[in-house]
Protein backbone atom coordinates (compact mmCIF):
# COMPACT_ATOMS: atom_id res chain seq x y z
CA UNK A 1 0.00 0.00 0.00
CA UNK A 2 1.67 3.18 -1.06
CA UNK A 3 1.01 6.49 0.63
CA UNK A 4 0.17 9.65 -1.24
CA UNK A 5 3.48 11.18 -0.24
CA UNK A 6 5.42 8.71 -2.31
CA UNK A 7 4.39 10.67 -5.38
CA UNK A 8 6.54 13.42 -3.96
CA UNK A 9 9.48 11.33 -5.08
CA UNK A 10 10.39 12.71 -8.50
CA UNK A 11 11.19 9.31 -9.98
CA UNK A 12 7.92 7.87 -8.81
CA UNK A 13 6.10 10.93 -10.10
CA UNK A 14 7.74 10.63 -13.51
CA UNK A 15 6.89 6.97 -13.76
CA UNK A 16 3.24 7.52 -12.90
CA UNK A 17 2.77 10.51 -15.13
CA UNK A 18 4.39 8.64 -18.00
CA UNK A 19 1.02 7.05 -18.64
CA UNK A 20 -1.20 9.47 -16.69
CA UNK A 21 -0.29 12.54 -18.68
CA UNK A 22 -1.33 11.26 -22.14
CA UNK A 23 -4.56 9.93 -20.69
CA UNK A 24 -5.37 13.17 -18.89
CA UNK A 25 -4.49 15.23 -21.94
CA UNK A 26 -6.62 13.08 -24.23
CA UNK A 27 -9.66 13.14 -21.96
CA UNK A 28 -9.25 16.88 -21.42
CA UNK A 29 -9.24 17.60 -25.14
CA UNK A 30 -12.26 15.43 -25.80
CA UNK A 31 -14.35 16.84 -22.93
CA UNK A 32 -13.48 20.43 -23.75
CA UNK A 33 -14.25 19.90 -27.41
CA UNK A 34 -17.63 18.40 -26.53
CA UNK A 35 -18.44 21.23 -24.13
CA UNK A 36 -17.46 23.99 -26.52
CA UNK A 37 -19.07 22.50 -29.61
CA UNK A 38 -22.25 21.79 -27.71
CA UNK A 39 -22.19 25.29 -26.25
CA UNK A 40 -21.43 27.11 -29.47
CA UNK A 41 -23.55 25.24 -31.97
CA UNK A 42 -26.33 23.44 -30.12
CA UNK A 43 -27.72 26.04 -27.72
CA UNK A 44 -30.40 28.62 -28.51
CA UNK A 45 -29.52 32.32 -28.77
CA UNK A 46 -30.44 34.42 -25.76
CA UNK A 47 -33.42 36.68 -26.38
CA UNK A 48 -31.56 39.76 -25.11
CA UNK A 49 -27.92 39.02 -25.68
CA UNK A 50 -28.18 37.18 -28.97
CA UNK A 51 -25.34 34.90 -29.85
CA UNK A 52 -22.83 36.83 -27.72
CA UNK A 53 -24.04 34.85 -24.72
CA UNK A 54 -22.03 31.93 -26.00
CA UNK A 55 -18.83 33.55 -24.80
CA UNK A 56 -19.91 32.26 -21.40
CA UNK A 57 -18.62 28.81 -22.33
CA UNK A 58 -15.09 30.17 -22.45
CA UNK A 59 -15.43 32.96 -19.93
CA UNK A 60 -16.77 31.20 -16.87
CA UNK A 61 -14.56 28.07 -17.02
CA UNK A 62 -11.41 30.12 -17.50
CA UNK A 63 -12.39 32.51 -14.69
CA UNK A 64 -12.97 29.59 -12.36
CA UNK A 65 -9.72 27.90 -13.24
CA UNK A 66 -7.84 31.16 -12.79
CA UNK A 67 -8.91 31.21 -9.17
CA UNK A 68 -8.47 27.48 -8.65
CA UNK A 69 -4.96 27.56 -10.03
CA UNK A 70 -3.98 30.05 -7.36
CA UNK A 71 -5.57 27.87 -4.68
CA UNK A 72 -3.63 24.90 -5.99
CA UNK A 73 -0.40 26.92 -5.87
CA UNK A 74 -1.19 27.86 -2.29
CA UNK A 75 -1.68 24.22 -1.28
CA UNK A 76 1.45 23.11 -3.11
CA UNK A 77 3.47 25.89 -1.48
CA UNK A 78 2.22 24.85 1.94
CA UNK A 79 3.23 21.27 1.27
CA UNK A 80 6.69 22.46 0.24
CA UNK A 81 7.07 24.63 3.32
CA UNK A 82 5.90 21.93 5.72
CA UNK A 83 7.18 18.69 4.21
CA UNK A 84 9.75 19.95 1.70
CA UNK A 85 8.72 17.76 -1.20
CA UNK A 86 10.44 19.05 -4.30
CA UNK A 87 7.70 17.93 -6.64
CA UNK A 88 5.12 20.08 -4.95
CA UNK A 89 7.30 23.19 -5.22
CA UNK A 90 7.85 22.46 -8.90
CA UNK A 91 4.14 21.86 -9.39
CA UNK A 92 3.40 25.28 -7.92
CA UNK A 93 5.94 26.76 -10.31
CA UNK A 94 4.37 24.94 -13.24
CA UNK A 95 0.84 26.01 -12.30
CA UNK A 96 1.57 29.73 -12.31
CA UNK A 97 1.85 30.29 -16.07
CA UNK A 98 -1.26 28.20 -16.64
CA UNK A 99 -3.16 30.29 -14.10
CA UNK A 100 -1.85 33.43 -15.73
CA UNK A 101 -3.11 32.35 -19.13
CA UNK A 102 -6.50 31.40 -17.67
CA UNK A 103 -6.71 34.86 -16.11
CA UNK A 104 -5.85 36.43 -19.42
CA UNK A 105 -8.49 34.38 -21.22
CA UNK A 106 -11.10 35.39 -18.65
CA UNK A 107 -10.13 39.05 -18.95
CA UNK A 108 -10.05 38.92 -22.72
CA UNK A 109 -13.36 37.11 -23.18
CA UNK A 110 -14.91 39.39 -20.57
CA UNK A 111 -13.71 42.43 -22.48
CA UNK A 112 -15.04 41.03 -25.76
CA UNK A 113 -18.34 40.35 -24.04
CA UNK A 114 -18.44 43.72 -22.33
CA UNK A 115 -18.26 45.59 -25.64
CA UNK A 116 -21.78 44.55 -26.81
CA UNK A 117 -23.28 44.21 -23.31
CA UNK A 118 -22.08 47.27 -21.41
CA UNK A 119 -20.90 49.31 -24.36
CA UNK A 120 -17.35 49.39 -23.07
CA UNK A 121 -14.33 47.11 -23.13
CA UNK A 122 -13.55 47.73 -19.53
CA UNK A 123 -15.34 49.03 -16.47
CA UNK A 124 -14.07 49.32 -12.94
CA UNK A 125 -16.41 46.71 -11.61
CA UNK A 126 -15.23 44.97 -8.41
CA UNK A 127 -15.16 41.51 -10.01
CA UNK A 128 -13.16 42.75 -12.92
CA UNK A 129 -10.91 44.74 -10.64
CA UNK A 130 -10.15 41.84 -8.38
CA UNK A 131 -9.34 39.78 -11.44
CA UNK A 132 -6.93 42.38 -12.64
CA UNK A 133 -5.29 42.28 -9.22
CA UNK A 134 -5.06 38.51 -9.44
CA UNK A 135 -3.34 39.00 -12.78
CA UNK A 136 -0.76 41.21 -11.05
CA UNK A 137 -0.18 38.60 -8.38
CA UNK A 138 0.48 35.97 -11.03
CA UNK A 139 2.90 38.30 -12.79
CA UNK A 140 4.79 39.03 -9.58
CA UNK A 141 4.97 35.36 -8.64
CA UNK A 142 6.33 34.34 -12.03
CA UNK A 143 8.76 37.25 -12.11
CA UNK A 144 10.13 36.26 -8.72
CA UNK A 145 10.67 32.64 -9.79
CA UNK A 146 12.46 33.72 -12.90
CA UNK A 147 14.71 36.12 -11.02
CA UNK A 148 16.22 33.48 -8.74
CA UNK A 149 18.89 31.00 -9.81
CA UNK A 150 18.95 28.52 -6.99
CA UNK A 151 15.86 26.28 -7.20
CA UNK A 152 15.41 25.71 -3.47
CA UNK A 153 15.80 29.37 -2.63
CA UNK A 154 13.30 30.17 -5.35
CA UNK A 155 10.85 27.63 -3.97
CA UNK A 156 11.14 29.05 -0.46
CA UNK A 157 10.79 32.67 -1.48
CA UNK A 158 7.89 32.13 -3.85
CA UNK A 159 6.12 29.99 -1.25
CA UNK A 160 6.28 32.83 1.25
CA UNK A 161 5.11 35.23 -1.44
CA UNK A 162 2.22 32.93 -2.25
CA UNK A 163 1.12 32.72 1.38
CA UNK A 164 1.36 36.44 2.04
CA UNK A 165 -0.07 37.21 -1.39
CA UNK A 166 -3.15 35.10 -0.76
CA UNK A 167 -4.01 37.09 2.34
CA UNK A 168 -3.61 40.34 0.49
CA UNK A 169 -5.49 39.08 -2.56
CA UNK A 170 -8.47 38.27 -0.36
CA UNK A 171 -8.19 41.69 1.27
CA UNK A 172 -8.05 43.30 -2.16
CA UNK A 173 -11.14 41.48 -3.26
CA UNK A 174 -12.95 42.70 -0.19
CA UNK A 175 -11.60 46.21 -0.79
CA UNK A 176 -12.80 46.18 -4.37
CA UNK A 177 -16.34 45.32 -3.31
CA UNK A 178 -16.18 47.99 -0.63
CA UNK A 179 -15.07 50.51 -3.21
CA UNK A 180 -17.63 50.17 -5.96
CA UNK A 181 -20.90 48.52 -6.83
CA UNK A 182 -20.61 46.59 -10.00
CA UNK A 183 -22.20 45.89 -13.30
CA UNK A 184 -21.16 42.28 -13.33
CA UNK A 185 -23.40 39.28 -12.78
CA UNK A 186 -23.42 37.64 -9.39
CA UNK A 187 -22.70 33.96 -9.00
CA UNK A 188 -25.72 32.57 -10.82
CA UNK A 189 -24.44 29.04 -10.78
CA UNK A 190 -24.96 28.78 -7.07
CA UNK A 191 -26.95 25.88 -5.75
CA UNK A 192 -29.58 28.12 -4.22
CA UNK A 193 -33.12 27.84 -5.54
CA UNK A 194 -34.19 30.26 -8.22
CA UNK A 195 -31.21 29.69 -10.45
CA UNK A 196 -31.25 32.15 -13.27
CA UNK A 197 -29.49 30.21 -15.96
CA UNK A 198 -31.44 27.74 -18.00
CA UNK A 199 -30.37 24.10 -18.18
CA UNK A 200 -29.89 24.48 -21.91
CA UNK A 201 -26.86 26.61 -21.03
CA UNK A 202 -25.95 25.00 -17.79
CA UNK A 203 -25.29 21.48 -19.00
CA UNK A 204 -22.74 22.38 -21.70
CA UNK A 205 -21.26 24.92 -19.30
CA UNK A 206 -20.62 22.21 -16.75
CA UNK A 207 -19.05 20.05 -19.43
CA UNK A 208 -16.68 22.72 -20.58
CA UNK A 209 -15.83 23.59 -16.98
CA UNK A 210 -14.83 19.98 -16.45
CA UNK A 211 -12.84 20.15 -19.66
CA UNK A 212 -10.96 23.25 -18.53
CA UNK A 213 -10.21 21.65 -15.19
CA UNK A 214 -8.75 18.62 -16.95
CA UNK A 215 -6.74 20.78 -19.31
CA UNK A 216 -5.35 22.54 -16.28
CA UNK A 217 -4.37 19.25 -14.68
CA UNK A 218 -2.72 18.02 -17.86
CA UNK A 219 -0.79 21.25 -18.35
CA UNK A 220 0.42 21.28 -14.76
CA UNK A 221 1.55 17.67 -15.01
CA UNK A 222 3.42 18.42 -18.21
CA UNK A 223 4.97 21.55 -16.71
CA UNK A 224 6.04 19.71 -13.59
CA UNK A 225 7.68 17.01 -15.69
CA UNK A 226 9.61 19.66 -17.57
CA UNK A 227 10.76 21.27 -14.34
CA UNK A 228 11.84 17.92 -12.93
CA UNK A 229 13.82 17.19 -16.06
CA UNK A 230 15.48 20.60 -15.91
CA UNK A 231 16.43 20.01 -12.32
CA UNK A 232 17.80 16.60 -13.16
CA UNK A 233 19.88 18.05 -15.96
CA UNK A 234 21.33 20.59 -13.58
CA UNK A 235 22.21 17.92 -11.04
CA UNK A 236 23.86 15.81 -13.71
CA UNK A 237 25.88 18.70 -15.05
CA UNK A 238 27.07 19.56 -11.54
CA UNK A 239 28.03 15.97 -10.95
CA UNK A 240 29.90 15.83 -14.24
CA UNK A 241 31.85 18.91 -13.31
CA UNK A 242 32.93 17.40 -10.01
CA UNK A 243 34.40 14.35 -11.65
Amino acid sequence: MSSFWEYANPRRFMRTTDWLLPVAAGVALVVTAIGLIWGFFFTPDDFRQGSTVKIIFLHVPSALMAINAWIMMLVASLIWVVRRHHVSALAAKAAAPVGLVMTMIALFTGAVWGQPMWGTWWAWDPRLTSFLILFLFYLGYIALWSAIDDPDTGADLTAVLCLVGTVFALLSRYAAFFWSQGLHQGASLSLQPGTRVDWAYKAPLYVSMTGFALIFVALVLAGTRTEIRARRMKALVARERMA
Partner: protein, 201 residues
Protein backbone atom coordinates in the same frame (compact mmCIF):
# COMPACT_ATOMS: atom_id res chain seq x y z
CA UNK B 1 30.91 17.97 7.44
CA UNK B 2 30.19 18.89 3.82
CA UNK B 3 29.28 22.24 2.35
CA UNK B 4 27.78 23.22 -1.00
CA UNK B 5 27.34 26.37 -3.00
CA UNK B 6 24.81 26.83 -5.77
CA UNK B 7 23.74 23.22 -5.40
CA UNK B 8 27.26 21.91 -5.97
CA UNK B 9 29.01 20.12 -3.12
CA UNK B 10 32.43 21.62 -2.57
CA UNK B 11 33.97 20.23 0.55
CA UNK B 12 33.23 16.85 2.02
CA UNK B 13 34.41 14.82 4.95
CA UNK B 14 35.99 17.72 6.79
CA UNK B 15 36.06 17.83 10.54
CA UNK B 16 37.54 20.66 12.50
CA UNK B 17 38.19 21.28 16.16
CA UNK B 18 39.51 24.50 17.63
CA UNK B 19 40.47 25.08 21.23
CA UNK B 20 40.91 28.35 23.06
CA UNK B 21 44.02 30.26 22.11
CA UNK B 22 44.40 28.45 18.84
CA UNK B 23 44.49 29.83 15.32
CA UNK B 24 43.84 27.79 12.19
CA UNK B 25 44.75 28.99 8.74
CA UNK B 26 42.75 27.62 5.84
CA UNK B 27 44.53 27.35 2.56
CA UNK B 28 43.52 26.07 -0.80
CA UNK B 29 43.44 27.20 -4.41
CA UNK B 30 40.95 29.77 -5.67
CA UNK B 31 37.43 28.50 -5.73
CA UNK B 32 38.02 25.49 -3.52
CA UNK B 33 35.32 26.60 -1.10
CA UNK B 34 37.01 28.53 1.70
CA UNK B 35 34.45 31.35 1.66
CA UNK B 36 31.62 28.85 1.53
CA UNK B 37 33.04 26.95 4.49
CA UNK B 38 33.41 30.08 6.59
CA UNK B 39 29.87 31.24 5.79
CA UNK B 40 28.56 27.85 6.80
CA UNK B 41 30.47 27.88 10.07
CA UNK B 42 29.28 31.40 10.79
CA UNK B 43 25.71 30.14 10.50
CA UNK B 44 24.79 31.99 7.32
CA UNK B 45 23.99 28.86 5.36
CA UNK B 46 23.15 25.34 6.43
CA UNK B 47 25.74 22.58 5.94
CA UNK B 48 24.95 19.96 3.32
CA UNK B 49 25.73 17.20 5.78
CA UNK B 50 27.20 17.00 9.24
CA UNK B 51 26.83 19.41 12.08
CA UNK B 52 28.41 22.46 13.59
CA UNK B 53 28.94 22.38 17.31
CA UNK B 54 29.42 26.05 17.92
CA UNK B 55 27.09 28.57 19.48
CA UNK B 56 26.34 31.02 16.64
CA UNK B 57 26.68 33.96 18.99
CA UNK B 58 30.33 33.17 19.57
CA UNK B 59 31.38 34.05 16.05
CA UNK B 60 32.58 37.32 14.60
CA UNK B 61 32.67 36.96 10.83
CA UNK B 62 34.62 39.19 8.43
CA UNK B 63 33.89 38.63 4.76
CA UNK B 64 35.52 39.68 1.52
CA UNK B 65 33.43 42.86 1.79
CA UNK B 66 33.94 45.09 4.79
CA UNK B 67 30.39 46.20 5.55
CA UNK B 68 31.35 49.87 5.71
CA UNK B 69 28.95 52.72 5.14
CA UNK B 70 30.55 55.09 2.70
CA UNK B 71 29.01 58.24 4.11
CA UNK B 72 29.71 57.53 7.77
CA UNK B 73 33.04 58.46 9.31
CA UNK B 74 35.51 55.88 10.54
CA UNK B 75 34.48 56.49 14.13
CA UNK B 76 30.76 56.31 13.36
CA UNK B 77 31.15 53.05 11.48
CA UNK B 78 32.97 51.46 14.38
CA UNK B 79 30.70 52.93 17.03
CA UNK B 80 27.71 51.37 15.31
CA UNK B 81 29.15 47.87 15.41
CA UNK B 82 30.33 48.39 18.96
CA UNK B 83 26.78 49.29 19.98
CA UNK B 84 25.32 46.31 18.13
CA UNK B 85 27.66 43.92 19.90
CA UNK B 86 27.18 45.57 23.23
CA UNK B 87 29.87 48.13 23.47
CA UNK B 88 33.53 47.46 22.82
CA UNK B 89 35.99 50.31 23.15
CA UNK B 90 35.99 52.21 19.86
CA UNK B 91 38.94 54.48 20.61
CA UNK B 92 41.16 51.57 21.59
CA UNK B 93 40.22 49.60 18.48
CA UNK B 94 41.08 52.55 16.26
CA UNK B 95 44.36 52.92 18.06
CA UNK B 96 45.23 49.26 17.59
CA UNK B 97 44.56 49.34 13.86
CA UNK B 98 46.36 52.63 13.39
CA UNK B 99 43.26 54.54 12.35
CA UNK B 100 43.27 57.31 14.96
CA UNK B 101 44.45 59.90 12.48
CA UNK B 102 41.55 59.13 10.18
CA UNK B 103 38.74 59.01 12.72
CA UNK B 104 36.60 61.72 11.12
CA UNK B 105 37.22 60.80 7.49
CA UNK B 106 34.20 59.37 5.64
CA UNK B 107 34.76 55.72 4.69
CA UNK B 108 34.19 56.70 1.06
CA UNK B 109 37.46 58.61 1.06
CA UNK B 110 39.69 55.90 2.44
CA UNK B 111 42.19 54.03 0.33
CA UNK B 112 41.71 50.29 -0.19
CA UNK B 113 44.06 49.36 2.64
CA UNK B 114 42.60 51.88 5.06
CA UNK B 115 39.13 50.44 4.43
CA UNK B 116 40.41 47.01 5.17
CA UNK B 117 42.00 48.14 8.44
CA UNK B 118 38.68 49.61 9.45
CA UNK B 119 36.95 46.33 8.62
CA UNK B 120 39.39 44.52 10.87
CA UNK B 121 39.04 47.05 13.68
CA UNK B 122 35.38 45.98 13.79
CA UNK B 123 36.49 42.59 15.10
CA UNK B 124 38.06 44.21 18.13
CA UNK B 125 34.81 45.83 19.20
CA UNK B 126 32.69 42.69 18.87
CA UNK B 127 34.14 40.98 21.94
CA UNK B 128 33.36 37.62 20.32
CA UNK B 129 35.75 34.72 21.06
CA UNK B 130 35.80 33.06 17.61
CA UNK B 131 37.00 35.12 14.68
CA UNK B 132 36.31 33.88 11.16
CA UNK B 133 38.28 35.91 8.69
CA UNK B 134 38.12 35.67 4.92
CA UNK B 135 41.38 36.93 3.40
CA UNK B 136 41.85 39.63 6.02
CA UNK B 137 45.09 41.06 4.69
CA UNK B 138 44.02 41.81 1.16
CA UNK B 139 45.46 45.20 0.10
CA UNK B 140 47.32 45.72 3.35
CA UNK B 141 50.93 46.86 3.23
CA UNK B 142 53.66 44.98 5.11
CA UNK B 143 53.45 47.18 8.21
CA UNK B 144 49.69 46.69 8.44
CA UNK B 145 50.01 42.94 8.02
CA UNK B 146 52.39 42.87 10.97
CA UNK B 147 49.98 45.02 12.95
CA UNK B 148 47.21 42.59 12.12
CA UNK B 149 49.31 39.60 13.19
CA UNK B 150 49.90 41.34 16.51
CA UNK B 151 46.20 41.90 16.96
CA UNK B 152 45.42 38.26 16.25
CA UNK B 153 48.11 37.18 18.68
CA UNK B 154 46.61 39.41 21.35
CA UNK B 155 43.23 37.89 20.72
CA UNK B 156 44.59 34.35 21.03
CA UNK B 157 46.46 35.21 24.17
CA UNK B 158 43.19 36.38 25.69
CA UNK B 159 41.74 32.93 25.04
CA UNK B 160 40.16 33.67 21.66
CA UNK B 161 40.18 31.52 18.56
CA UNK B 162 40.67 32.45 14.92
CA UNK B 163 39.91 30.69 11.66
CA UNK B 164 41.55 32.50 8.77
CA UNK B 165 41.28 31.81 5.07
CA UNK B 166 44.14 33.33 3.16
CA UNK B 167 46.58 32.99 0.29
CA UNK B 168 49.22 35.27 1.74
CA UNK B 169 51.69 34.66 4.51
CA UNK B 170 50.28 36.25 7.65
CA UNK B 171 53.33 36.27 9.85
CA UNK B 172 51.67 33.89 12.31
CA UNK B 173 54.10 30.96 12.37
CA UNK B 174 52.48 29.49 15.50
CA UNK B 175 49.15 28.94 13.76
CA UNK B 176 48.20 25.54 12.41
CA UNK B 177 47.66 25.37 8.67
CA UNK B 178 44.96 23.28 7.06
CA UNK B 179 44.99 22.71 3.33
CA UNK B 180 41.48 22.13 2.00
CA UNK B 181 42.55 20.47 -1.24
CA UNK B 182 42.26 16.86 0.06
CA UNK B 183 38.68 17.52 1.18
CA UNK B 184 37.44 18.48 -2.24
CA UNK B 185 34.10 16.83 -2.84
CA UNK B 186 34.23 14.15 -5.48
CA UNK B 187 31.52 12.66 -7.58
CA UNK B 188 29.87 10.03 -5.43
CA UNK B 189 29.88 6.47 -6.68
CA UNK B 190 26.58 5.66 -8.41
CA UNK B 191 23.82 4.69 -6.03
CA UNK B 192 25.85 5.69 -3.05
CA UNK B 193 24.25 9.02 -2.30
CA UNK B 194 26.18 12.25 -2.33
CA UNK B 195 23.46 14.09 -0.48
CA UNK B 196 22.66 16.45 -3.30
CA UNK B 197 19.47 16.32 -5.35
CA UNK B 198 19.62 12.55 -5.05
CA UNK B 199 15.91 12.31 -5.58
CA UNK B 200 16.21 13.63 -9.09
CA UNK B 201 18.74 11.13 -10.35
Amino acid sequence: MSVARGGVPLIAGLSLCLTAGQALILRGPNGCGKTTLLRTLAGLQPPLAGEIDLPPDAVAYAAHADGLKATLSVRENLAFWAAVYGGGDVGAAMGRMNLSGLSDRAALNLSAGQKRRLGLARLLVTGRPVWMLDEPTVSLDAASVALFADVVRGHLAAGGMALIATHIDLGLPEAQVLDLTPFKARRPAPGQGGGFDEAFL
